[in-house]
């Protein structure tokens, strides 16, 4: 059901945890499934230096947060604003249709975190 990559991120989440000195921070919850996400960002010179996160919910939302934290490191903030849920899903080797909204939740919270920065 889940790809190897997705399961690897779920089992070995990258960059999980908080960033006490974050430049941007946001939380979000998917009202339908109840999954929750919190993202912290450290940004300098219009680029993301570090992303950390906490998530509660399904395996895809954890894996999506994890893979996103790797994807955005060093990324310019405009590019982050344009990041699409599909790219996150692709980076995970696909997300089953029923769970695609997990990537959307990450995108949403990430955009908010950038704005607050």
């Amino acid at each position: 059901m889940f790809s190897e990559t997705l399961l690897d991120h779920f089992q070995h989440p990258r960059n999980a945890g908080e960033l006490p000195d974050a430049d941007g921070e946001a939380t979000g919850e998917n009202p339908v499934c109840g999954d929750r996400l919190h993202i912290w960002l450290r940004m300098t010179d219009g680029h993301i230096r570090e992303m950390r996160w906490r998530a509660e919910g399904c395996a895809p939302v954890i894996a999506a947060a994890s893979v996103t934290s790797e994807m955005v490191r060093g990324m310019d903030i405009d590019a982050v604003r344009r990041l699409r849920a599909e790219s996150i899903a692709d980076a995970l080797g696909g997300i089953p249709k029923r769970k695609e909204h997990a990537a959307a939740l990450v995108v949403m919270v990430l955009r908010r975190a950038v704005v607050t920065g």
Binding site: F10, R54, A55, E56, G57, C58, A59
Partner: protein, 383 residues
């Protein structure tokens, strides 16, 4: 499933070897249609009769009161629609924690056929009070359906008391005993029950085979019509192998019951103990006392069951968050919500249902695995 610890016996069970052996001849040589007149077909017919007699005896029923179906979903649909549509009365009663194969037919009768439906609430312990059923009754109540044991939390309902109330008022009483029959003796000669559903695949028999008991004298309108099989109450060429397997499974289930129940309870209590010693804030859902001995349903706050189940699966432990047939859905369990849990609590719940293959060692290993996964996931969760 070689190294797996299978803790999902409420979803389905593995065929017992004796059951497979009982089915085998009917998937081979004994293929004749039992309705045909020639001798080899009559041999099949008489083996079916023997199976029906054995099933009836195991349940304290008469053979003519048993119809074989394609599973408990069909049995529940047939019982509810069959009794409701056979009469003039227009009010139905059930409980909030029934299986969807009871709730949906009830809701259908309400939405499409003009029935009034009363869904009786349960207490925080997952049990319905006989008085609550009694006060739901009306002069035109056509049928009451209450499950004997719940499939998610294993709680037992006071079937005898409810049945006595209904019998005094001559209201037909349907009982979904799918989960109960493994561990509770069922004697329909004395139990005040008019219709009862069972499913083979929950008792180490084959999928696609079930039965409906219909007490003699109960007005009933068949769901499937056609050939005259099952005394005109369920048409269709008999699933002979499935019926033979079911009869064998029920026979074994009846004779093993006391030992199996004691064993399941010992394992279940050990599992709970191991979990409680490892996981803080673990809460058991539903009464522990009036409960199937093989069922455990716990809430682990801060640990969503969707990801917990994936982590457990990767570690070789399979379990579920509720009934199998809704596992794909995003909705929290209607049973847990009916107990008063919040949506978030309901989403952080785990159902562990034991069976005959489980061992004490597995209980310890499973508890370690669950505790490890839960603590990892809790550490990932936002505060």
């Amino acid at each position: 499933m070689p190294d797996l610890i299978y803790l999902d016996h409420a979803a389905t069970t593995r065929l017992r070897p004796e059951v497979r052996a009982a089915m085998a001849p009917f998937l081979d040589d004994l293929y004749a249609n039992p309705s045909s007149v020639y001798r080899v077909a009559q041999t099949v017919r008489s083996k079916l009769d023997v199976a029906r007699d054995a099933v009836a005896r195991a349940l304290g029923a008469s053979p003519s009161e048993i119809i074989f179906t394609s599973g408990a979903t069909e049995s529940n649909n047939a019982a509810i629609k069959g009794v409701a549509l056979a009469g003039q009365r227009r009010h139905l009663v059930t409980t909030a924690i029934e299986h969807h194969s009871v709730l949906h037919p009830m809701e259908e009768l309400a939405a499409r056929w003009g029935f009034d439906l009363t869904v009786v609430a349960v207490g925080a312990d997952g049990r319905v009070a006989p008085a609550a059923i009694e006060s739901a009754l009306r002069p035109d109540t056509a049928l009451v359906s209450v499950m004997w044991a719940n499939n998610e939390i294993g709680t037992l309902q006071p079937i005898e008391e409810i049945g006595e109330i209904l019998r005094a008022r001559r209201i037909p009483f349907h009982v979904d005993a799918v989960q109960a029959v493994n561990y509770l003796p069922i004697n329909l000669a004395t139990a005040p029950i008019d219709l009862l559903s069972l499913s083979a695949h929950k008792i180490y028999g084959p999928k696609g085979s079930g039965l409906l008991y219909i007490r003699r004298g109960t007005s009933f309108f068949p769901l499937l019509t056609g050939g005259g099989q099952e005394r005109n109450r369920r048409a269709g060429t008999e699933n002979v192998a499935g019926i033979m397997g079911f009869a064998e499974a029920l026979g074994l289930c009846s004779s093993d019951r006391p030992v199996a129940a004691a064993r399941a309870r010992r394992l279940r209590d050990r599992l709970l103990e191991e979990l409680q010693s490892r996981i803080r804030d673990l809460r058991v859902n539903g009464s522990l006392h009036d409960r199937l001995p093989n069922n455990l349903n716990v809430t682990i706050p801060g640990c969503h069951s969707e990801s917990l189940l994936v982590a457990l699966d990767l570690a070789g432990v399979v379990a579920s968050s509720g009934s199998a047939c809704t596992s794909g859905s995003l909705d929290p369990s209607h049973v847990l919500l009916a107990l008063g849990l919040s949506e978030s609590e309901a989403r952080s719940s785990l159902r562990l249902t034991l069976g005959r293959e489980n061992t004490e060692t597995e209980m310890v290993r499973a508890a370690e695995t669950i505790a490890g996964a839960a603590s990892r996931l809790r550490r990932l969760a936002p505060v």
